[in-house]
């Protein structure tokens, strides 16, 4: 299933459910109660950042021309295809942190043990089976959604069209009144 994760900022209530679900999805047991006892503890790949009273979940944008892929000296980061995930091959990663330095969003982190870089893998194992990414499923307010670029454009166009339509109607009404 192709797509990217998008955020509707106004809908985010800052509950951190996306972080929790992400960590569980990337645990060995995939079960919350068991996962909290795992060593190393599973880490989330999505982070909630607070700015000026708003909270914004951030995760890898899976850039089409990803700087992290370009900068990686070991070929450890791979773009799987257009509108597909950028993933880190942990076995090749040497933990040089160049990817962290070049990421415009700060969504690449070093694993707690400092050995490899970590970031969102777009829940490949789920999306391959037609399931939505764990964070999207977990979001109780619908702030996170999983869409292709085309679907997103369409959605935005419809909003813009509605706006135009309403403006035109208002203008007509004004003319009639005059």
């Amino acid at each position: 299933m192709k797509g990217s994760i998008f955020v509707q900022i106004k809908k985010c209530l800052s509950c951190h459910s996306c972080e929790l679900a992400c960590a569980v999805e990337h645990s060995a047991s995939k079960d919350l109660v068991r996962a909290i006892h795992e060593d190393p503890p599973p880490a989330p790949r999505v982070r909630l950042e607070q700015v000026e009273g708003a909270s914004i979940p951030l995760q890898c944008r899976h850039c089409e021309d990803a700087p992290c892929v370009a900068v990686c000296p070991c070929g450890a980061i791979e773009k799987l295809g257009p509108e597909q995930a950028v993933i880190i091959h942990e076995d090749k990663c040497i933990g040089c942190k160049f990817c962290i330095a070049v990421c415009p969003f700060g969504v690449v982190e070093l694993r707690k043990d400092g050995r490899v870089a970590l970031k969102c893998d777009l829940c490949l194992s789920r999306t391959e089976e037609g399931l939505l990414p764990a964070c999207v499923t977990a979001c109780p307010s619908g702030a996170l959604c999983f869409l292709t670029a085309e679907e997103l454009s369409k959605q935005k166009r419809r909003i813009a069209a509605k706006r135009e339509h309403q403006a035109a109607q208002a203008a007509d009404a004004q003319e009639e009144e005059a």
Binding site: S17, E19, A23, L32, V33, P41, P42
Partner: protein, 651 residues
């Protein structure tokens, strides 16, 4: 799971309802449960705190984010405070029910015009004597008045010890006194628990749990026991009685009236009102053949125990009962009444009538119950139901033709009389059964329904597994209703599920292998029975010595948390099908599931699989048998006791 999924219930009547046209466009519990998925992990783990306005705070269970709330509370402190407040709510619920019972008894004893009468003179005399009242030459009303006033005082008492707590074995009372958890007054322990868990008071999780235990003991050995014992005095001690259970008790050609909730004060009057010839005449004048009164949840259990009134279903059948379209009125009081009922009832001709001044429900007609006009109000309600019967005409109904026979009405006293015979009441045969190994032990399976688990599956599966392994089961509340629907309270039918030893005992004594002890508030009867078994002798000195355990495979209510704590603190090993919301607090979980046993003799285990849960209980019973130097179980059983080596390996 949504209501359209398969395997929502193992109960054939509920399954039939869920598959039928009647429920296809209704929004039911399972649909709302599905819409709520995934549920919040912080809440599940107990590490979210909203006690003060510096929060809400949450602890990151993976250790990446904050490990302390704004005030500095750790996961253990936060989860302990949250849990303690659940105990406070549960204790408050049972005890407030008890308070209403005392009020009704006082009215019966002091007002000659009251619709209530003091029914059980023998029991009031015994209780007055137990509490040191001079009983010479006093009528049952005079004694009931004294007992009622003394019971009221238990709620407001500020120091000393609760009277019913004195029933506990010395060994257990000493544990409570040594740890400073002997309950002083019922209301006081709830208030102190709320105080201790507010911002910036008790910050030691074991100390918080200690007060939680004190409040829970004020429930089990206080409010709940008052509710049970005084209900017996007021309405009569139950005796074994036959009845029927499941949605099939509704009748197409009669006025169907369901009571739902927990308190017996109004429902006792409704029983009387439905038997009134004037009401039956009115029903016939409206074209009905008669009046069927039945119940849901524990109000149902209360009037089942004393009058054999049939039961329509347990907690997760409250909506399905309305969906039959055949209910002319559902009368609700307090506890476990889903707010969803009001909107659901609007889809049918059914009148939903709320009655408690404490509980109003959206879209329900409110006819407030007043004990001083009890029978008049009961008749008014029954009249409303009868007058609604003609509105059912021409509407489609769906009543599953499924019902089961059962025997209910067991109490601490009637078990006694059953076992030893009326002339020599004694627990001796029960203790002998355990000592010889015909009975491996005893278990109390209790609790609610919860859409997390297939409806009734936890109760019935665990009960059957224990019966097969020669464990006598006692039950209350929604578990009792689940087991009854599965035929396990049917003295003949149920024996086929029993191991050889249990079957021999049941046949010799003439009891079903699962004994229905009443409503969830009547788990206090289990405490009394455990004390009686110990008094009989031969099975140790403390409750924790007994080869016995408790379980709540499908619990959901805060009341179940209070019950869980008072039984654990009374020395009973307790298996919960749904973990307490503490698993994000590692030290607290370790304390509740292990270390607390050294302090009080009981501990919790969390096990969602009812077969695995039954095996935990059997392992525990076997350990206790071995500690008592009892021979292993007499006959071969499917889940054989572990050998010494196996037991050592398992621990």
């Amino acid at each position: 799971m949504s209501s359209k999924d398969k395997n929502i219930s193992i109960d054939p009547a509920s399954e039939q309802m869920l598959r039928s046209e009647a429920t296809q466009d209704l929004e039911l519990t399972w649909d709302r449960y599905q819409a709520m998925q995934p549920q919040c992990g912080y809440g599940q783990l107990g590490v979210c705190c909203k006690i003060c306005a510096m929060g809400p705070c949450r602890i990151d269970p993976f250790g990446n984010g904050p490990q302390k709330g704004v005030c500095g509370a750790t996961a253990d402190i936060i989860a302990a405070r949250n849990l303690a407040r659940m105990i406070a709510a549960g204790t408050a619920a049972h005890s407030d029910h008890g308070r209403d019972t005392v009020h009704a008894l006082l009215s019966a004893a002091s007002d000659p015009n009251s619709d209530y009468k003091v029914t059980d003179g023998k029991k009031v005399r015994a209780l007055a004597q137990e509490w040191g009242v001079d009983i010479q030459g006093k009528s049952k009303e005079e004694l009931a008045k004294e007992v009622a006033e003394m019971s009221f005082a238990e709620f407001g008492q500020q120091h000393g010890e609760l009277k019913f707590a004195q029933r506990a074995p010395e060994e257990q009372k000493n544990r409570w006194r040594e740890n400073g958890v002997m309950p002083r007054g019922i209301d006081r322990e709830v208030v102190e628990l709320m105080h201790r868990t507010t911002m910036g008071v008790d910050s030691d999780f074991k100390s918080i749990i200690g007060q939680g235990i004190r409040a829970s003991l004020a429930d089990g050995w206080g409010g709940s026991m008052i509710a049970t014992e005084l209900s017996d005095i007021l309405f009569g001690r139950p005796n074994p009685i036959k009845s029927t259970v499941n949605l099939g008790i509704l009748k197409a050609d009669e006025v169907n009236i369901l009571v739902h909730g927990h308190e017996p004060t109004l429902s006792e009057m409704l029983v009387a009102a439905t038997q009134d010839p004037e009401m039956i005449k009115l029903a016939k004048s409206k074209g009905a053949e008669g009046i069927t009164l039945a119940g849901i949840c524990c109000t149902a259990n209360e009037i089942l125990m004393r009058h054999g009134v049939p039961i329509a279903g347990n907690f997760l059948q409250q909506e399905l009962a309305l969906a039959t379209g055949a209910v002319d009125a559902m009368i609700v009081d307090v506890q476990c009444v889903m707010p969803a009922l009001g909107e659901l009832a609007k889809r049918f001709h059914t009148k939903l009538i709320s009655t408690s001044p404490k509980a109003k429900v959206p879209f329900a007609n409110h006819i407030e119950f007043d004990e001083s006009k009890a029978l008049d109000i009961a008749k008014q309600i029954i009249r409303e139901a009868i007058e609604n019967f003609p509105n059912r005409k021409g509407k489609s109904t769906c009543i599953p033709d499924i019902r089961e026979n059962m025997v209910a009405g067991f109490t601490a006293e009637s078990v006694f009389e059953f076992l030893g015979g009326h002339y020599r009441p004694s627990y001796r045969p029960l203790n002998e059964g355990i000592i010889t190994g015909r009975l491996r032990g005893a278990a109390a399976i209790v609790g609610c329904n919860n859409p997390r688990i297939t409806h009734d599956y936890g109760h019935v599966t665990m009960t059957k597994e224990l019966l097969a392994n020669d464990v006598l089961v006692v039950t209350t509340g929604c578990t009792a209703i689940a087991d009854a629907k599965a035929g396990l309270l049917n003295s003949g039918e149920a024996l086929k599920y029993c191991g050889k030893g249990l079957k021999e005992i049941c046949e010799a004594v003439g009891i079903p292998p699962v004994l229905h002890l009443g409503a969830c508030v009547d788990i206090s009867r289990v405490l009394t029975i455990l004390c009686n078994i110990l008094d009989q002798g031969g099975l140790g000195v403390g409750i924790s010595d007994l080869p016995a355990a408790g379980a709540a495979p499908e619990w959901m209510s805060e009341k179940a948390v209070a019950i869980g704590f008072y039984v654990v603190a009374s020395g009973v090993y307790t298996v919960l099908g749904q973990a307490l919301p503490v698993e994000g607090a590692k030290e607290l979980t370790q304390y509740l599931c292990e270390d607390i046993e050294d302090v009080y003799g009981g501990k919790f285990a969390f096990e969602p699989d009812p077969i695995e849960g039954a095996h935990l209980i059997l392992d525990h019973i076997d350990r206790k048998r071995s500690d008592l130097k009892l021979s292993p179980v007499l006959y071969p059983v499917p889940y054989a006791p572990k050998t010494v080596a196996e037991a050592a390996a398992a621990s």
